[in-house]
Subunit: 127 residues, 4 copies
Amino acid sequence: MLHKFPFSIAYADTDAGGIVYHGRYIEIAERARMNWLKEVALPDNDIGFVVRQLNIKYIKPLKLKDSFYVESEITKIGPASLEVEQKFVKDGDIYAILTAKAAYIGKDLHTKPIPEYILEKITKKEG
Amino acid sequence: MLHKFPFSIAYADTDAGGIVYHGRYIEIAERARMNWLKEVALPDNDIGFVVRQLNIKYIKPLKLKDSFYVESEITKIGPASLEVEQKFVKDGDIYAILTAKAAYIGKDLHTKPIPEYILEKITKKEG
Amino acid sequence: MLHKFPFSIAYADTDAGGIVYHGRYIEIAERARMNWLKEVALPDNDIGFVVRQLNIKYIKPLKLKDSFYVESEITKIGPASLEVEQKFVKDGDIYAILTAKAAYIGKDLHTKPIPEYILEKITKKEG
Amino acid sequence: MLHKFPFSIAYADTDAGGIVYHGRYIEIAERARMNWLKEVALPDNDIGFVVRQLNIKYIKPLKLKDSFYVESEITKIGPASLEVEQKFVKDGDIYAILTAKAAYIGKDLHTKPIPEYILEKITKKEG
């Protein structure tokens, strides 16, 4: 399943180079993931997903007032972790690709298996 | 005219107090103003509105995953400046009120009269 | 007592207007206040100071690579609240003035008197 | 050469998980690089270094009021690009490792050889 999150660039996202600040892509990607899971309640006071590693490739710069989509997709699933790929897409062109590895953490602060219904939510065919 | 901008809180917006970081309201308010003016092209390479003074009153704290509206309204119009009031409203309750005074700046970096069609856009009765 | 906090502007602080983003002054001011209180431990699991109202006047724009001081001073003290004024000063010129009103909050989430030793720390003559 | 940049965590850097927001490490790393190059003037209106790819591994979470160093070191040098490794180190422990690949961009927006005196500044034995 591909989750699409629309976003528009404000001054807060840009820097003096006249483009979107490279660190902002990470925030916008997190916003997209939150939107994806917004209806998912975590069980048992679990902490939930915690980012362990993150890779981002900047291909073309996004700019002030640009409107685009973050397209998110699960690319790997382990017993207590997963990998998500997030593309910043404007008018069919990819501006950046982010890959995040996240572990699922329980309330005891240790990794634990991702609950079945969360896996279903983020891997099902229809969005 | 009242402009309504929907927004949802992600981790990026929060702080270790468990609530939305007080500085983030300023960014979200700017995002709402950008959305309001997104179809307005500035003439003559004008710089546009620049915030000169800003006041914000924190009434109740917004939290992670909260969805709400920023309701923006022009409250004063001067020859080369205006005042906008922006309320953070969730389920009918006001969480914060921001007032911003902005000057309109031309490409020569000096204030100049706000173009007529921009005034019309932000003051007309219907949104 | 005047607390001075040195800071330098990076790309993260700027926006596409080529100047420091207006919302960033609020973050930098908070950083200065944290530095002021860094050796002060809060008693009894108190929450501590929470900003209730904030006013900022932008006088001149700070820019990329600018180095300056945030000069903070207590301007009012109430039984359970205080007001701090923070000036952004570069080479003797004031670029922005922020005034924050903060309440002191205990662990029960209600206001309570500011502990005596904290008042002493932030009001004593010598820094 | 190893460049060391001291930093302290304020509320602005944290999130509702009670730790430093994962996106903030990227900003703090940029601040450290700016500090490194603060005395280096770019020639010929060059744009300078632009981050093309970024990888970060989160090992242990930094928290509110933590004071630490960002230790930066050039790990690869190409004709018009370089790779820098940046470690977040508190009390001898590594909390995160960031690797950034940056291209050197001239005023015509194309890559060009990194000026000799900049290479010297960031690769010399003594800091």
